[in-house]
Amino acid sequence: MKLDWSETDERFRGELLAFLEAKTPPEATRVDFPGNASGGDAIPAWLRAWQATLFDHGWMIPGYPPELGGRNCTPTQTMIYLEEFARRRIPRATHFPGYAIVAPSLLEFGNEQQRSLAPAAIRGDTVWCVGMSEPNAGSDLASLRTRAVRDGDVFVVNGQKVWTSYAMVAQQCFCYVRTDPDAPKHKGISLLIIDMDTPGIEVRPLTHITGHADFAEVFFTDVKVPVANLVGELNGGWALTQGSLAHERAGLWVDGVARLEQTVRDLVDLAKLVGRHDDSGVRRAIASMFEQASSLRSLGYKGFASYAQGSSAPEHSYMKMASSEAGKAAFELGMELLGPFGAATGAGSPTTLGDDTGRWVTSFYVSFANTIAGGSSEIQRNIIAQRVLGLPRA
C-alpha cells in the first residue's frame, strides 16, 4: 500500500494538462453536465471535432494504442485522465455507445473485418446505437424477441427495440436478436451489426422527461442483414451482452465519481450563494456527500484498476450503484438549498441565482436515468448479492 504518483504518472498528467490548455474548445467548458450536453437529437459539430482531435492526439481512450486513439497508458493513468476531464467538466463525446460499448466489444469478440470498425467508432466518425432493450425485455434482457431468420446470405430481422439512445443520429446499430426461439432463452441470442439506413428500419424519437429527444423506438420490418455482420458465434450473443454491460459499467463509474466530487464543490458554492453556509444541517449534508464521493474514489482506485483493460468484474456494480444513487441525492440537496426556487427553471427567478437557476432540478431529473439505464440499482444489488456475496438465487 503506497500513496504516491510516480514520476511517469506526473509527467502523464503534465502532458494531458498542456494538451487541454492548448486544445479545449471554448464550448466544452460551458457544458454543464455530460449527459445533457447534446440537448437534442443532433450532435454539435464542435463536439464531433473535439472527439476527433482527442483521438488524433491519443487522448480519446488513453489506455488503447495510438491506432485506437490512445497512448498505451496504465490503468492508474487512465484514472488520472478521467478525473482531470471531470474536474474541468470537459466532455469527451456525448454519444458514448460507440467508444464505450461497441468498440471494446468488437475488439474483444469481433473478427478481423469487424475489429477494423473500432477506430471510427472511437473517433466518432461512425455513430453507433445499442439495441438491447425491448418493450418486454428490460432488466430481463434475455427475454428479447426481435427475430432474425437466416435466408441464404442474409438474416431477415423483424421486431422492435426501445429506449435506443442516439438511434436518430446513428449510422450503425449493435443489435441483439433472437436466432433460436426454441433454445433456452440465454442460448438463442445473437449479435448483429445493422446499418441504420437499411430498408425496413423506422426510428420514432421518444422525448425524455427533460424535454429532449435523446432516445427512440426502433422498428424492424423484414430488414435484410448480411450474414457477415454476425458478431461472435451464432446463438452465442449472451456472453457478448455481459461484455457490453461490463464495459459500460466500468467506464462510467470513474466519470460518475469524479462528477460527484465536482457536484460537491458546486454545492458548497451554492450554499454560500444562498446564504446557508452557516447552517449546520446543510454543512453536514454536504460533508456527508463529500465523504461518499471521496471514499468511492478510493474504492475505485483500490479494486478496479482493471477498468482500463476493459475486463469485467462484478465489483463494478458497487461503483455503478453507489455513484448513481449518490448523484441523485446530491442534486436533490441542491434543489433543497434553492428552497422555493428549487423547481424553478428560468424566467422569474432571482437574477442573483445566475446559472444555478434550473440547473439543479434539470440535473436531478437527468440523474434518474443513471439508476435505471445500464442495469438498474435493484439489478446491481442482485448482482452484488449473488455474484459477489454468493447468496443463493430465489
Partner: protein, 338 residues
C-alpha cells in the same frame, strides 16, 4: 497509487487472524464480561505486535481492523494505538518508547475534554480514557491559549478514576478529574497534535470498521444457513439487498481507511481530511451493519445467548468514540467551507 497489500502485510494479517481465532474466541469475550483479567493470555500474544505502535499507519490499520473484527479486549488499543502514537508524535523519551514498543509498559491517553470531544482543550476533567485500569502510565494532554503540553503520569490509583460505563464491557472508559496535579510537561506543537489525532482517528476507524465487518459477515453467513419457507432466507431479495448495501458500506469504508493510512505514511496534504472521511465512513458502516445484522438474524439475534451482540456492542461504542460520524462530518465541512 497502489492499494495492494505487500506480502509482508498479507502475512501480518494472516498471522494475526490465526492468533485471534485461537486466543480470542467469543467465549473469551463472555468470560471477560465477568472477569477483567481474562484478557491476560491474549495480551501475552498481542504484545508481540506492540512495535506496530510506532510503525507505518498502513500496517497498524490492518491490525486494528482485525482486532475490531474479534472485539479483542485488553490494552492494545490504548497502549499501542494511542499511547505509543502520542509518544512518537511528541518525540518522547526513547527508553519509554522502546519499552512501550516491546509491550513491557502499558499506557493510555487522557485528552478528550469533559464533553468527550477529542480536541485541544484546557479542561481539567478528562473523559473516555480507554482501559486506564490496565495502564501503568497515563499521558494527559492539556492546552493553554497558545501552547499544548503532554504530561506522562503514573496511574493515580483506582479511586482517582471513575468509570464511564458503556454498553461494551470489552473495553472500559474512565473519567479523571485531574485537579491541579499536572506537573512537568513536554511541549506538543499543533503539528504534532494533528499528527497524533489523525493517526488516532485512522486507527479508531479501523477498529470501528472491523466490528462492522464482523456484524456483516455473521449476517451473511446466517442468511446462507437459515431456512424459512423451505429455502435459505438469503434467497429473499429483501435480505439480499440489505446485505448488498451493507457490503457496499464496508467496502467503501475499507477503501477510505486504506487511503487515509497511506496519506498518513506519505504525509500527504490530504491527510487530515482523509482521516475524517475514514472515521465517518466507518461510522456509517457500523451503524448500518449493527442494525441490519440483527434484523437479518431475527429473534435469535436479539438474545444474550447469541454471539452477535458481543460485536454489535463494540461497533456501537466505537462509532461514538474519537468523534462520532456527525462530528467528523462537521470537521469536513469546516475544511470544505474554509
Amino acid at each position: 497509487m497502489d492499494f495492494t497489500l505487500t506480502d509482508e502485510q498479507q502475512l501480518l494479517v494472516d498471522t494475526l487472524r490465526t492468533v485471534l481465532a485461537n486466543e480470542c474466541p467469543p467465549s473469551l469475550l463472555r468470560e471477560h464480561h465477568d472477569c477483567r483479567g481474562a484478557h491476560a493470555p491474549l495480551w501475552e500474544h498481542l504484545r508481540g505486535f506492540a512495535e506496530l505502535g510506532r510503525g507505518d499507519a498502513t500496517d497498524a490499520c490492518l491490525v486494528f481492523d482485525e482486532l475490531g473484527y474479534a472485539a479483542a479486549p485488553g490494552p492494545f488499543f490504548a497502549s499501542v494505538g494511542l499511547f505509543a502514537g502520542l509518544l512518537e508524535a511528541i518525540d518522547a523519551d526513547s527508553a519509554l518508547r522502546d519499552a512501550v514498543a516491546a509491550g513491557e509498559v502499558v499506557g493510555t491517553v487522557a485528552a478528550a475534554d469533559s464533553q468527550g470531544i477529542w480536541h485541544a482543550n484546557d479542561d481539567l476533567v478528562k473523559t473516555f480514557i480507554p482501559d486506564a485500569d490496565l495502564a501503568q502510565l497515563i499521558a494527559v494532554v492539556s492546552a493553554t491559549d497558545d501552547a499544548m503540553f503532554v504530561t506522562i503520569l503514573p496511574h493515580p490509583g483506582p479511586s482517582a478514576l471513575a468509570e464511564i460505563e458503556t454498553v461494551d464491557p470489552s473495553r472500559k472508559y474512565f473519567r479523571w478529574d485531574t485537579g491541579d496535579e499536572i506537573g512537568a510537561a513536554i511541549p506538543c506543537t499543533p503539528m504534532q497534535w494533528r499528527a497524533f489525532l489523525d493517526r488516532s482517528f485512522a486507527l479508531a476507524s479501523a477498529e470501528t470498521l472491523g466490528a462492522a465487518r464482523r456484524c456483516f459477515s455473521m449476517a451473511l453467513e446466517y442468511a446462507k444457513e437459515r431456512e424459512q419457507f423451505d429455502r435459505p432466507i438469503g434467497s429473499f431479495q429483501a435480505i439480499q439487498h440489505k446485505l448488498a448495501e451493507m457490503s457496499l458500506l464496508v467496502e467503501r469504508a475499507t477503501a477510505a481507511l486504506h487511503y487515509a493510512a497511506m496519506a498518513i505514511d506519505a504525509d500527504h496534504a490530504d491527510r487530515t481530511s482523509a482521516c475524517h472521511v475514514a472515521k465517518a465512513a466507518a461510522g456509517v458502516a457500523a451503524r448500518r451493519c449493527l442494525k441490519d445484522s440483527i434484523q437479518i438474524h431475527g429473534g435469535i439475534g436479539y438474545t444474550w445467548e447469541h454471539d452477535l451482540h458481543l460485536f454489535l456492542r463494540r461497533a456501537t461504542v466505537a462509532e461514538t468514540q474519537f468523534g462520532t460520524t456527525s462530528w467528523h462530518h462537521d470537521r469536513l465541512a469546516d475544511v470544505l467551507f474554509a
